[in-house]
Symmetry: C2
Subunit: 278 residues, 2 copies
Amino acid sequence: MLTISQLASYAGVTVRAVRHYHAKGLLPEPERDHSGYRRYDAAAVVELIRIRTLADAGVPLSRVRELLAAGDEAFAAAVEDIDRRLRAEIRQRQRHRVRIAQLAAGDSLALPREAVAYLNRMHELGFRKRLIEIERDSWILIAAQMPEQVPAFMAIKHAQIEHETLRRLYLDIGDLADCAPDDPRLPSLADRVAAFIEAAAAEAAGVEEEQPVSDDLVALLDAAFVESFPCAPRLLQLLEERGWTGWTNIRPMDPAARSSRQPASVDRASPHVMPSYS
Amino acid sequence: MLTISQLASYAGVTVRAVRHYHAKGLLPEPERDHSGYRRYDAAAVVELIRIRTLADAGVPLSRVRELLAAGDEAFAAAVEDIDRRLRAEIRQRQRHRVRIAQLAAGDSLALPREAVAYLNRMHELGFRKRLIEIERDSWILIAAQMPEQVPAFMAIKHAQIEHETLRRLYLDIGDLADCAPDDPRLPSLADRVAAFIEAAAAEAAGVEEEQPVSDDLVALLDAAFVESFPCAPRLLQLLEERGWTGWTNIRPMDPAARSSRQPASVDRASPHVMPSYS
DNA sequence: CTCCAGCCCTGACCCTGCGTCAAGGTCAAG
DNA sequence: CTTGACCTTGACGCAGGGTCAGGGCTGGAG
């Protein structure tokens, strides 16, 4: 008769594993000797080896009993099933490898390639680090909700940033990133923003744009803006005084006064930079 | 301010996952409102998305914090490490696929191909089912301990089974598989076994064989034999009366009387079938 | 006879990444 | 006031065991 450690070593497993199989009901509990020790016969070694053979082939323990008892066709079906699972796990790992490789290659954590290029361009054009970080976070939020549309948005943003007037406006916004709410430059900045938007709105008048950005996302981006810029509430207040509300999706204050339909927003996907010419 | 479910839905995760990340220290616990609810800002959404981005790339949560804080080179090193793990897991799954495919192809659970062929041949030659099962279990035990040697052993076994006298002897042993210990056919069977072994031993005299089968395995195989055949103890006793001891590794009773060295055993790797002519 | 090493026993906590109750407090709407 | 949808903490569960903790047994040496 064999002790548990002898049984385990014959089958090449640990004593703990044997007890685990007992607990799982895979291997029947053997007789005990007078002191309570388990005593095994040679047949138990064979059973244990069969269990390990299946387990070593990737069969989950929960299915081992079933497979040990299965006839040929049931066995084949179960094997098919397990192989499917293994293939799925392999594919998952392979996708993971692609993703971390992309991350390591500079897909700066959660940002698509186009956004990284855009942020680099901002850096070249002398935008402040703070502003770039804020912009990056905004694009992380957008990419999480609508990854498909990001390349299209990025094309717009690239055009915007290369546009002289708009870039200058944007650079000045960046310079006010850390300013106090009562900074004297804020009112003139609000004037410039309002003037710009009005011009863009006039151009876009009557153009029915699709609205791909959800209200939820707009609200989130506005919140991110306000969190990041101490002077944001003041700036928004100044804009409201000039008849505009919101930031990411900036709109006239009183929609009903202008038209019965939702007024065309100017650029809903360009947080922290105003209207687009697209 | 966002509730936990809003945060979770922005990042595309479950509320439970968010709390899990809090518990793991990946995401800092935010302020609570007056009733104890967690209240998040937009920055938390960005952080959560970054966590998920890494997790979705196969980074274990235990390493996420490290990677979020890592500089470029540390990040690359960690990614290298994680990729190694992923590759190892893929290779493991691929090995599993090969194994279950072999099992499904008739590698009848833990038996190498050669042994399956041998068992099939036994079936063709009219051996009894009981005996074949016992033989199968023995080869499972042997294959678990010394898989490399099994093909060589199988060649010997094939030769044995095709040998007229030996096959007849073996068939008769099979017929006695379920016999009572006092079956009258046992003494004459013992005579035949003893006669056969003596002839084989005479032939093999002076030949120093390597002993590839460990004493432990021999003991295990003998135990399996005794467990399987009710009349095995009686048969072994009759053989001892004729001067032979053991079964798998059958030997003269009193080694010292014959020579000072360990006497050549006849065939240590052929359980339940006696000497080999190899 | 005692001592010690090396077995054996059960019970319980640990790992991953959450899912899923359970039991109760809160909030907004009707 | 009630209802249903949230929120809270706490706990168990999954796979496959690893790793103590705290005790009992055994066999050989001194």
